[in-house]
């Protein structure tokens, strides 16, 4: 592995081609997993004895909430790499992840509201889990708004990276909020140390949907990164060659 040239893949030109080849695979696997997960979750999984069929929202809610946090951490890592090594591609990856992260956060809030109403009797409560998730949504929006507001892409990158890094403290707060505070939101259904508190088939459906969300998020972020690369590198030699080769 010592001969592996990491720098080669940090070049936008190489990355552009590689990502282009990988995207259809990620979309394909995401679609297959989604069909399998929906079949498990909506058709095979039994009705819950307490929550009846309202619990089926879990197959979207939990994967979306996980992705909302994971994408934010990955985005902060790219931002840190960008600040440390000044690599253009790192900042472009951070920008490419934000809209998909915001989407996942919105989905988790939306499905949470639709789940909260029948089970708690309220669409929304200012509980620690819900509030910190809402803050995550605003962090994503703030990151995107800040980048959009600054004309110079290099300054926009650095300002955005700063928000991403400062905001990352919110992620452990979201995760542990159900333990640190007395929340209406239930505790973790799945954890590394305890055996899961749900039926195997429900758990399977949720995990398959979570994998589908991973694959989808990777495909969407790579696809957005390619467009950002084209926009930013439009004056470069390799874009000129590629565009002329296509025409």
């Amino acid at each position: 592995m010592s001969n592996f040239n990491w720098y080669k893949y940090s070049s936008p030109a190489t990355f552009y081609g590689l990502a282009g080849k990988m995207i259809p695979w990620f979309y394909g696997v995401a679609a297959l997993l989604c069909v399998a997960g929906l079949y498990l979750g909506l058709f095979l999984a039994p009705t819950d004895f307490q929550q009846s069929d309202a619990y089926r929202i879990i197959f979207i809610h939990v994967p979306a909430a996980w992705m909302a946090m994971v994408i934010y951490v990955v985005m902060a890592c790219w931002a840190a790499l960008g600040l440390a090594f000044n690599t253009r591609l790192s900042f472009m990856m951070a920008s490419a992840l934000a809209p998909t992260g915001a989407l996942m956060t919105f989905i988790s809030l939306w499905t949470g509201a639709l789940w909260g109403k029948p089970t708690w009797g309220a669409w929304w409560v200012w509980d620690a889990r819900l509030t910190s998730e809402l803050i995550l949504f605003f962090l994503y929006l703030g990151f995107m708004a800040l980048q959009a507001a600054i004309d110079d892409p290099r300054r926009a990158d650095r300002a955005g990276a700063l928000i991403a890094l400062v905001g990352v403290v919110n992620v452990p707060i979201i995760y542990f909020s159900v333990r640190w505070w007395n929340t209406l939101h239930q505790g973790a259904s799945v954890s590394v140390t305890k055996s899961p508190s749900m039926a195997a088939i429900m758990l399977a459906g949720m995990l398959v949907m979570a994998l589908a969300a991973w694959m989808y998020a990777i495909a969407a972020a790579l696809s957005r990164a390619r467009s950002i690369i084209l926009e930013r590198e439009k004056n470069s030699q390799w874009v000129a060659q590629m565009v002329e080769g296509e025409a």
Partner: protein
């Protein structure tokens, strides 16, 4: 299989509004993101082609 009929499936034990409201809005949002990604890509390609054809173009938007 958990259901005996399609109407039973769609009724979701009386929670149809909440369950299908979750799945439906999520589906619409995902399709929306996919459409946005496609239009972003097309815009970026057009911009790159114009730049190659006419040289450096001034940024007129975003």
């Amino acid at each position: 299989m958990n259901w005996n009929s399609w109407p039973e499936f769609f009724n979701m034990g009386g929670y149809a509004f909440y369950v299908w409201g979750s799945y439906g809005v999520t589906a619409v949002l995902i399709v929306g993101e996919l459409l946005l990604l496609r239009s972003h890509r097309q815009k970026a390609l057009t911009l790159a082609k114009r730049t190659v054809k006419y040289g450096k173009v001034e940024k007129d938007e975003s």
